[in-house]
Each structure stands twice: as structure tokens, then as C-alpha cells.
């Protein structure tokens, strides 16, 4: 396993921050979107990558965050930052709810993937048909610039906040690779029975994992709502985000610290590039997605992080800790 040091992570985050300040316009917007997807993918990676519980329904968490952000602000006049915290907590709660129901009955593999997909779809349909969530018309957030509103005239500041969350995601993943909890996650991914025999309470570990995973992906949803100031059920709970989250993590390298971030940057970057080159032929970026996924599974099933390592693009082995 590649195990970047904390210093490496800090350098990467600072470098992205510096790049952010050089950007403007469409590129800046693209990078904000990359960070949001990276964060959602980091959430997916905790559960799908480290714990081996692949979810097809991370939209449930993303949407929970996005709707908490939108509903709390527009209906209850809650401060944006408070709404952000509540949104993240709600993501953890939704995670615990779905986790409790599925892990109690021992669901894993494709069954778990299907049940998460089902939960996300139920949430999408409910949000689409309830007045409380704005129904099919969605929710429009008020444009109010200023730090207390978590909206900025200069969007670079918003990018920095998104980057801050991605940094938190990196640190959480880094911590997983250096902690008992992370070792337990990997152990139950590799062999649940053997983990139990060694005293691992697999149910409790899975519950924690899905709560953390849900919180991170919900944070991405919160940022999404706050950045675009509009959400509806298909955006917040649509399967597009479930797919982007798992694509980015898998293409980048699932179960690695940097995988989701690299995957999100590469996927969205290439997607944008093809959109530009193809003069906006609809669906071109989706085709590229598909091709990348096929190629990455064929040539580097462990993700770009591992591919880079095997091509020698990484500094020679320094990572192993005794």
C-alpha cells in the first residue's frame, strides 16, 4: 500500500491552494466542482475502499447534506455555517440509519450496493414530491455575499473552504492508515470471519465507517448547495453523484489516501477537456468516463495511485513504516 506522509499531503493541499489563487472564471468553477466531487469520493472511499462495502447510493448522503443546507436556510433562517454543521451531522445520521438496517441483517457485496441504491432512490422520489423540500421545482437559495453567509463575491474563497474540507478528508484517510480503526476496516474487508475471531466487533466498526463516510459525502452536498445556490431532487439525490463518487475513488485508487482526489481531478478534467474538444456534443464526457473506467480497470485495477507508483513516478520507497 502506498502511504503518503502527512507532509506530502500538506504540500499537495498548499499547492492546490496556490493554483486556486491563480485561477478565475470557468477554470475556477471547474476546480470548485472537482473539490466537491473529491470530497464526496473521499466519503465513498472510507466505506467502499477501506471497508470494502461498495455503495451505489452515496447520493443519499450527498442529498441529505444539500437539502439540510437549503431547507434550513430558506425555511428556518438558520445561519449557513450552522446549517453546514447540521447537514454534516445529518449525513452521519442517515449513514447510521442505512447501516443499522443493512448491517444488522449482514448485507454485503452486491446486496449492500443495491440496498443503498434503493435508499437513495426513495429519498429522491420523496424529495421530489414533498412540498417541504420544494417538490419538483427544487429550492433556490438567496444570494448573499459575505463570510457569515458562506458565500463570496470572490469565488476563490469558496474554493479554499472546499479545499479545507478535502484536506480534512485526506487527514481522515491518513488517520485510517495509521490507526486501529483503519486496520479493523481493512481486516473486515479482507475477511470478516477472521476479524471476528480476533475480537473485532464488525457491526460496530461498520457503523462507525458508514457514519464517517456519510458525514464526508454530506459535507460535499452542503458545499454543492451553497456553491450553486440551487438544488432539486435529481441533483441532490440523483444517481449521478453516487456514480461520480465511486468512479473518482475507484479510478484514483480505492482504499488509498490520495485516490479519490486524484480520481476526481483526472475524471472531471478529462471530461471538461472532451466537452471543449467535441464542441459540446452531449454525452461526450460520459463516454470518456466509460473509456477511462474500462482502461483503468484493465491496466491498473488498483487505481491511478498504484499505476503512478508502478511507473516510478513516485519517490522511491520511503513509505513503509516499521
Amino acid at each position: 500500500m502506498t502511504r503518503p506522509r502527512l507532509a506530502t499531503l500538506a504540500i499537495i493541499v498548499v499547492a492546490l491552494g496556490v493554483i486556486a489563487f491563480a485561477l478565475s472564471g470557468a477554470l475556477l468553477n471547474l476546480m470548485i466542482f472537482m473539490m466537491i466531487i473529491a470530497l464526496a469520493a473521499q466519503g465513498w472511499n472510507i466505506l467502499g475502499g477501506y471497508a470494502g462495502l461498495s455503495s451505489f447510493g452515496h447520493a443519499a448522503f450527498f442529498g441529505a447534506g444539500a437539502y439540510a443546507m437549503a431547507v434550513l436556510q430558506t425555511r428556518f433562517g438558520v445561519n449557513a455555517w450552522v446549517a453546514l454543521v447540521i447537514g454534516i451531522a445529518l449525513g452521519a445520521l442517515v449513514g447510521a440509519f442505512i447501516g443499522f438496517l443493512s448491517f444488522r441483517s449482514g448485507l454485503k457485496g452486491s446486496y449492500f450496493a443495491l440496498i443503498t441504491l434503493a435508499f437513495a432512490e426513495v429519498a429522491r422520489i420523496v424529495a421530489n414530491s414533498t412540498n417541504f423540500t420544494g417538490g419538483a421545482a427544487g429550492i433556490l437559495l438567496k444570494l448573499q455575499n459575505g463570510l457569515p453567509y458562506l458565500q463570496f463575491a470572490d469565488r476563490r474563497y469558496f474554493l479554499l473552504i472546499a479545499l479545507g474540507f478535502v484536506a480534512i478528508g485526506l487527514v481522515v484517510s491518513w488517520w485510517l492508515e495509521h490507526s486501529r480503526f483503519g486496520a479493523y476496516l481493512v481486516a473486515l474487508r479482507e475477511n470478516e470471519q477472521a476479524a471476528q475471531a480476533l475480537g473485532v466487533d464488525v457491526f460496530a466498526v461498520k457503523m462507525k465507517a458508514i457514519a464517517i463516510s456519510g458525514a464526508l459525502t454530506a459535507a460535499a452536498g452542503c458545499l454543492y448547495a451553497q456553491n450553486y445556490l440551487f438544488i432539486d431532487a435529481n441533483v441532490a439525490f440523483g444517481s449521478w453523484i453516487s456514480i461520480e463518487a465511486l468512479f473518482a475513488a475507484i479510478v484514483g485508487g480505492s482504499g488509498t489516501v490520495l485516490g479519490p482526489l486524484i480520481g476526481a481531478i483526472v475524471l472531471l478534467g478529462l471530461g471538461e477537456l472532451t466537452k471543449g474538444l467535441s464542441h459540446g456534443i452531449p454525452g461526450m464526457d460520459l463516454m470518456v468516463f466509460g473509456v477511462i473506467l474500462v482502461l483503468s480497470v484493465a491496466f491498473s485495477p488498483n487505481g491511478l495511485v498504484m499505476l503512478m507508483k508502478s511507473l516510478g513516478l513516485r519517490a522511491p520507497a520511503k513509505e513503509r513504516e516499521a
Binding site: M1, H178, S179, R180, A183, Y184, V186, A187, R189, E190, N191, Q193, A194, A195, Q196, A197, L198, G199, V200, D201, V202, G255, R320, E321, A322
Partner: protein, 247 residues
Amino acid sequence: MLEVKALTKRFSGLVAVDQASLSVAKGSITGLIGPNGAGKTTLFAMVAGFLQPDGGSVSYDGRDITALAPHVRARQGIARTFQIVQPFEGLNVQENIAVGAYLHTPDAGEAMRQAAEIARRVGLGADLAKASSDLTVAGRKRLEVARALATRPRLLLLDEVLAGLNPSEIRDVLPLVREIRDQGVTILMIEHIMQAVMNLCDKVYVLSQGRMIAEGEPRAVCEDPQVIEAYLGHGAAERLRAEQAHA
């Protein structure tokens, strides 16, 4: 230390374990033998908590643990190895063992240090960084034992740790088992290799078709006509006796 009373397990009509009882004295090495399909591994799984019995009880240190989940039993000091080795493939040898060591320390550095020490004890000292999938069969068996030891068990359940090893590997592992006992770990082992059973066990139980048919010192048990018949078929004991009388 371990008291199994009238344990029964049915798999839809088939009685895999039928009213089996055994007791393991503290500090002993107790063997559980029996022909293939006798229900030994099923009995083990019930002792370790992986299967719920349909009847009977398991008590450990005087407390009834029949209803406890496997991870709770592990925390109370019962560790098991698996007959079919189950390493964490994505982890190296040291990390594999550390998962066990985490039971008593939340600290990663400490767990890895303990793991290295236990690896040395079982003879995997040179393979710490090896992927567990790169180990030989004997190496994987050792890894099973190492991982179980890392949880600092007081009762160790060994499920055929010698199966699949060649004679010289068996000779290497026998002292390891004895050494583990000498360090204060009580052992209950399933074993087919009689050389090991004779050598190691203080007491042996024989399970056949789910029933406990004999118990006692290894040598006495091996001469028990019921045991011979369980292995060699009906009438075998008599024929053997007749042949011996002629010789």
C-alpha cells in the same frame, strides 16, 4: 477452564454434533480427534461462537458463554485458528498479526511492535513485510497461530494447524505448540496427525458421527475398540486383535 455440555447442532435434518460434551483443564493440551465429517470443526465453531448450538451449553471460566458473539469471546481470551487459513490478503504479515494485537492496545506503533515480536516467536521473523498471500502453506499456518496469539488468549483453539505440512515442518511446529502451552495458554486442538496427538496431548476426545465416543489419555484412546471401529469400520477392532494374537 472450558466446559462443553451436551452440545448439539443440526443442519436441516442432519445432526452434525449430537449431545457432545468435553472439558478442557487449565494449562492442558487437549486433543479432539475423529474421522472426517465427525463434526469436529462444527463443535469448534460453536465453542468460538461462530455457530449457535441447537442445544447444550458452553462455559468458560465458570461462566456460561453460549450466547456470546465471537468477538466478545475473543475479548475474554478465547482465540481460534481456522482449518482453512484465512489471512487478510491485502495486508502484510506484520499488519495481519497487528490486527490481533489491537485487541489490547489502540496504539498502532505498539501493535506493530508486538506483532513483530510474535512473528519472531512463531518463526515468521524474516517475513514481516511479505504479503500474506506470498507465504508457503506452512507459513500461513504459522500466521494463523501468530494472529491468534496476538490477542493474548488464555484458551487457544487450534483447528488442524498441522494439516498440509510435510514431516519436517510438523517437527518444527510441535515444539511451538508446546512452548505456547508452557507460557500459560490452555490449548484445545483438532488434529488428524496422530504423531502430534500422541506427542502433545494430555487428554484426547474422540468424536464420531457427531457423538463423543471416547475420552482419555492418547494411548488408551487409540486402543479403544470403539475408536478403532470409528476409523477403520465395523469389525476392525476384532480383526486386529485376532491378527495380533496370531503374531
